[in-house]
Structure formats: structure tokens, C-alpha cells
Amino acid sequence: MTAITHHIPDHLLASYAAGSLPHAFAVVVASHVSMCNDCRASLAAHQAVGGAILETASTSPLSSGLRASVLAQLDAPVRAEPHYDRSGIYPGPVVAALQGQQPKWKALGMGVRQTILTADAESNARLLFIPAGQAMPDHSHNGLELTMVLQGSFSDSTGRFGIGDVEVGDEDLNHTPTADAGDPCICLAATDAPLRFKALLPRLLQPLFRI
């Protein structure tokens, strides 16, 4: 495996630890941390800050029965939570978002396919399948877009992104990501606002494809 060179920015790791990161971005952060020990260590640092705040928090009196109630439940049987491991190219958090199923690809045209993983009012995440050599339509971003490579690689004006790398797109980035030669490029992409396409046709198709 080639080394990961594009990481999750620090403020997003802090926001993930604090729980303020929209759900779709949290899927990307958890996926990248699953594959990147540098970011795992940075996340541990943010958790340590949170722990220090908890440690120095003032204490509040508890109801009298709480302690006994917790201690009495130590042996209670628990319903096993579903647990998802990595499967092929998909890290555990992506497998969890797919609920253990294989992706159900929908064609977007030009050989590009997508699977929506999660969508709510705040953010959405999808898998994108881009044939080798294929370009995505030229676009910029209204909000934040995180794109993590799971298979193959893509390049744009800012550089080359291989497996595990995350590209951070914001209002300032206008780009035409193109899948490199070799394997088809499969990406995990999360956004909190619709993309802005330069050309008319992709703009017209946008509502259909929920990009």
C-alpha cells in the first residue's frame, strides 16, 4: 500500500471528537482514521483534551439509587450491537453505512456510478465509481466536500490522491478531478451543500442525482 499523504485537517478531527461534525463527514473521518495511524494518534490527542476537561469538570450530586442500579446491571445480558469490519476495499465505517450489504450502484452517465450512503438535511455521503481516465464535471463547492479514495487514484490541479488520501474541497477549490489510469477509482465523498457545476448540463441533472 502506498503511503497516505493527504490527511484529515486538525479542526475536523477536533470536531469529530467533540461530536459536532455532521454525520456524513464523520463517516469519512472514521474511515480515514481506520486506515491512518497518524490521524488516529491526532484524534487521541483531541480525546485527551476532552478527557482533561471531563477530569476537571465540577461534580454534581447523583440520585441516591443510581450507583446501586448501575452495579446491579453489570451481569445483565446485553443485546449485541452490529459490528462491521473492513470488507475488501471498504473500511468498517463504510461497511456500517452500507449495513453490511454490497453497494447498489446507480449509473450517472459516462461510466460514472454512485451509491448514496447517508443523507440528511445537514450533509450527505456517497460512494462514487469513476472509470480510469474519466473526468468528473468541472465543479466548485458551496460548503465543504471531503473525498477519500478507496480504490485506484485521481488527480486534479492540486495533486494526486491515492488510497486512503482525503481531498478537502471548500469555496476556494474549483477542480476537475480525473481518475488515473489503472483500476477504476472508487471514492467516498461527503458534502454539506450542493456542488456548483460550471457547465449547464450537469447543473440540469443535479436534482436528479442529488449531487
Partner: protein
Amino acid sequence: MLRVKIDRDRAAFAALFDHFAPRLKGFVIRGGTPAAQAEEVIQDVMLTVWRKAEQFDPHRAQVSAWIYQIARHRQIDIARKEARPVPEELKEDPGAEADASQILAIEQESEHLKQALQRLSADQRIIVEKAYLGELTHQEIQTQTGLPLGTIKSRIRLGLERLRHDLKGLRT
């Protein structure tokens, strides 16, 4: 915590409860849980600590950091009624022996971090607390002037470097 993890020691767990549960109460209320539900969250968090104790790795985290993350995830799961995405667990080498110096390094740096937080100005401290209690958006964390992220993290730099080094051997 290690007695809870290794020996399943109930008295040790009760001591953890006595230390953390009263701190968790104000913490989860500030973190967005209604006061009436706070004790339910505390109960869930502390039972998770007991049930998932084998996942706690003292080479990588101090117990307060571990409980912090469990508490924040639990609060969001309840608010969203959907599980928070979490990274894959690292597979610990079952034959590996505990490295006392690494455990000590993590403890010492956590102590330095606590002291550094206490030395912050009142304004800075408020901002840091807001950030880590989920009261700031990721954009606000990025743009907030006066958020001494770098200063704080430099306190745990040494432990982090060791952690990075140790993790390298673990995967990929």
C-alpha cells in the same frame, strides 16, 4: 481501570463510578442532554465502560479520554437515534507485554495537559470547553481566534510521537 479490564474487579469499577459519574453529570447536561435524561446517559456510559473494558488500551489513552469519547458518542447516538460512525478497532497483539514507560508517558502528559488547561485565561478556557463539548461547529473551530489548539496539543506532543511510532508496528 486496569483492574476492571484485566481482573473484572467490581470494587475497582465502583471506584471509577464514584470518580467519573458525578463529573459526567454536569458534563452531559452542558453537552446538550436534558437534565432529566442525564442520569440515564451516565448509566449507559458507565455500563459501556464495564462491558467494553477490554477495548481500553492504556498505551494509547488515559481513562478520562476514553470515557470522554464514549460519553460524546452516546449523547449523539441518543440525539440522532443512529449510531455514530466509529473507526475500526486496532487489533492488539495478544502476546504483547505491557510497556510501563509508555503507559507512564501517557499519564504524565495527560497531567501536563490538565495543568495547561488550568493555566489558560478564562476566555480561552471557555472557548476550549465549548469546542470539546460540541458547542462549536467545525467551521467555528477552524476560524475561532483564541482557540489554543496548537498550544494545547503541543503538551501531548511527546506522547503522540511515541504513539505514532508504536502504532506503525501495529497495522498496514
